[in-house]
C-alpha cells in the first residue's frame, strides 16, 4: 500500500479529485480472507463426516480368512466368506486347466492368462471373489450342480455374464474378470486369503 498518502485512513484512498474514497482493495481482501477461512473451516468439518462413512475398524479387521482346501476334489468348488463377500475356491481338473490355457489372449475382454490368476505350483487352485464385476451378484457354478454357463466357469444369473475356467469374463455385460484376492498357501492344503 505504498500509494497511500500520509493522513489518509487505512480503509480509504484518495480519488482523482482529491476526495477520500473507500479503498475497495482492502475491503475485498478482508472479504476474501474471511470467506476463505470459512470455506477451509467447513471443509475441515465435512472431512470427518464423510470419512466416518468409510469402512470402520471392525469391518477392516476381518481382512484375512484361512481356508482348508483338503476336502475339495478336482472339479469341485466351495463358497466361503472373505470380508463378508463370497469367495470361490475351486479345484480345476486338468482338462479345465488346459481349456483355460488354450484360449488366445487376444480374444479376452480383460486379458489375463491362467498363470496371472493362479500361483506357481498351484495352477489347479482358482481362488476368486464370488462377486460378479457387473453389479455384484454371486455367480453360479461354485455349488454342486449349479449352471456353469457356456464357458464352463461361472455364470451370473442376474444379467447373464459368463466366465470361463480361469474365471475370466467371456460373455455378457460384466467388464472385468472375477477379482483374484491376494492369497498364499501356508501348507499344501491351507490357504490364507487377504
Amino acid at each position: 500500500m505504498a500509494t497511500l498518502e500520509d493522513g489518509v485512513p487505512p480503509d480509504q484512498t484518495v480519488g482523482p479529485g482529491g476526495e477520500l474514497l473507500e479503498n475497495p482493495r482492502r475491503r475485498d481482501y478482508l472479504t476474501y480472507a474471511a470467506a476463505s477461512v470459512a470455506v477451509v473451516g467447513a471443509g475441515v468439518v465435512v472431512l470427518p463426516l464423510v470419512n466416518s462413512m468409510n469402512p470402520d475398524a471392525a469391518t477392516l479387521a476381518q481382512s484375512s480368512t484361512e481356508v482348508d482346501v483338503s476336502a475339495i476334489e478336482p472339479g469341485q468348488a466351495i463358497k466361503t466368506l472373505f470380508r463378508k463377500q463370497p469367495l470361490f475356491v475351486r479345484n480345476l481338473t486338468p482338462a479345465e486347466v488346459a481349456e483355460a490355457q488354450a484360449v488366445p489372449i487376444s480374444e479376452l475382454r480383460d486379458p489375463q492368462t491362467l498363470e496371472d490368476r493362479t500361483l506357481e505350483g498351484h495352477r489347479n487352485w482358482l481362488i476368486t471373489l464370488g462377486v460378479c464385476t457387473h453389479l455384484g451378484c454371486v455367480p453360479l457354478g461354485a455349488g454342486e450342480g449349479e449352471n456353469r454357463g457356456p464357458f464352463g466357469g461361472y455364470f451370473c444369473p442376474c444379467h447373464g455374464s459368463a466366465y470361463d475356467t480361469a474365471a475370466r469374463i467371456r460373455q455378457g455385460p460384466a467388464p472385468k474378470n472375477l477379482e483374484v484376492p491376494k492369497y498364499a498357501f501356508t501348507s499344501a492344503t491351507v490357504v490364507v486369503v487377504g
Binding site: 469402512p55 466368506l81 462377486v131 455384484g136 451378484c137 467388464p175
Partner: protein, 429 residues
Amino acid sequence: MSFPWARHYEPKNPLMKWVDDRLPLPRFVYNAVGAGYPVPRNLNYFWNFGVLAGVALVCQIVTGIVLAMHFHSDAAGAFDSVNIGIMRDVNAGWFLRFAHANGASMFFIVLYIHMFRGLYYGSYKPPREMIWLLGVVIFLLTMATAFMGYVLPWGQMSFWGAQVITGFFSAIPVVGDWVRIWLLGGYAPDDATLNRFFSLHYLLPFVILGAVILHIWALHIPGSGNPTGVEVKGEQDTVPFHPYYTAKDGFGVGVFMIIFAFLIFFAPDYLGHPDNYIPANPISTPAHIVPEWYFWPFYAILRAFTADFILPAKLWGVLAMFGSILILFFLPWLDKSPVRSGNFRPMYRIAFWVLVLDVLILGYCGGSPAEPVYVILSQIAAAYYFAHFLIIVPIISRLERPKPLPNSITEAVLGDHGGSRISESAMSA
C-alpha cells in the same frame, strides 16, 4: 402472485385475527389452498394427482414414523423385527407395514400419472419451468427414499437390491470402487449399510416435503395450468380453490383411499416380491433380481446395454439409466411449441401416447428375466425413449400445425355464450 380478483383473508374471530396479526399463517393457508387462490374453472380429474401425491407423502411419513418405533436397524435383527415383531407381535403392526409398503406403490402410481399429465398438457412450458424442474427433483428424491426403504426389511431382495444399486457407482471410472465401498461402509452390504440407509430413509421424506413446498410456491406464481393450455384472462375463467377444488380433490382422495385400502386388505403382497420373505443371504443371489415395479422401466434401460462401445457396457447402462431421468430437466427447452395442451397438438398427441406405450414396454421388460427377447425389446424401447425427447419432440414442435385455440377458458367451457362474455369483459378491462 395472485390474480387481482383473488379474495382477501379476513379473520372471522378475534383469536384468528390475533394470530394473523402476529404470524400470518392463516392468511398463507387461505391464499395457498383456500378461497384466496383462484384456479381455472375447467380442471379435469388429472389435476387431482398433485394433491394425491401430497396425501401419499403424508401417509408414508405418518406410517413410517410409527413403524420406526418398532424397527431394529441391525443386520441380525432387522428381518425379524419386521417379519416377526411388526407383522405378528406389534398391535396392528401388519396394517402399518402393509400401509407403508403399498403406500409407496400408491405414491408412485399417482406420481407417474401426475408426471404424464404434465407431459400431455405441456405443464413444463413457460412460465411453469421451475415447477417442472422441482418436480423432477422430487421424483429423484422419492426414488432414492423408496430404494433405501426397500432395503430395511433385510430380505433377499433388500440385500441384493442394495448390492446391485450400489454396484452402479462402481461403474464410475477410477474412483468407482472407492465410492461404492464408501456408500456401503464395507465391502458388501452389512450393518453399516443398513444403519445409514435407515437414517437417510427417515431424513429424505422431510427433504421431499421441503421440495414440495417449493414446488407449490413456484406453482402459485403463475397459477395452475388447465386442459386448454390457454392462460387465465379474467375473473370469469377462475373459481376459488376452496370450496370448488377442495371438494373435487376430496372426491379424488376418496377414490384413492378405496384403491389403497383394497391393496392393504385384500392384496397386500401383490406388488411385492416373495423373495423378500427370505432373510438376506450374502452368499446366495436370488435367481431373478428385480426391483419394485416402479423402477422397472429404468431397470430395463440399465440392462439394455450389453456391448462395450468406447466406454464399458456397464457404464453406458448406468449413464443411460440416470440420463433417462435427467433428460426431463431439459424438456422445457427441447419442446419449443408455444401451444401447451396436447389437445391442440395433433402430432404431439400421437407421440405422447407412443411414449406412454414405450414406458409400459420398458416396465414389462424391466420386470422380466434378462433373456434375449426382453433385452432386444428393451434396447428398442430405450432407444425410442431417448429419441422421443431428443429428436421427436423438437422436430414436432417445428413441423406441427396446431389446432386453433379457444379464445379463453370460459369460451372453451361455455362455447359461443362464453365467448361473448369474455369479449365484453375484455373491452371493459
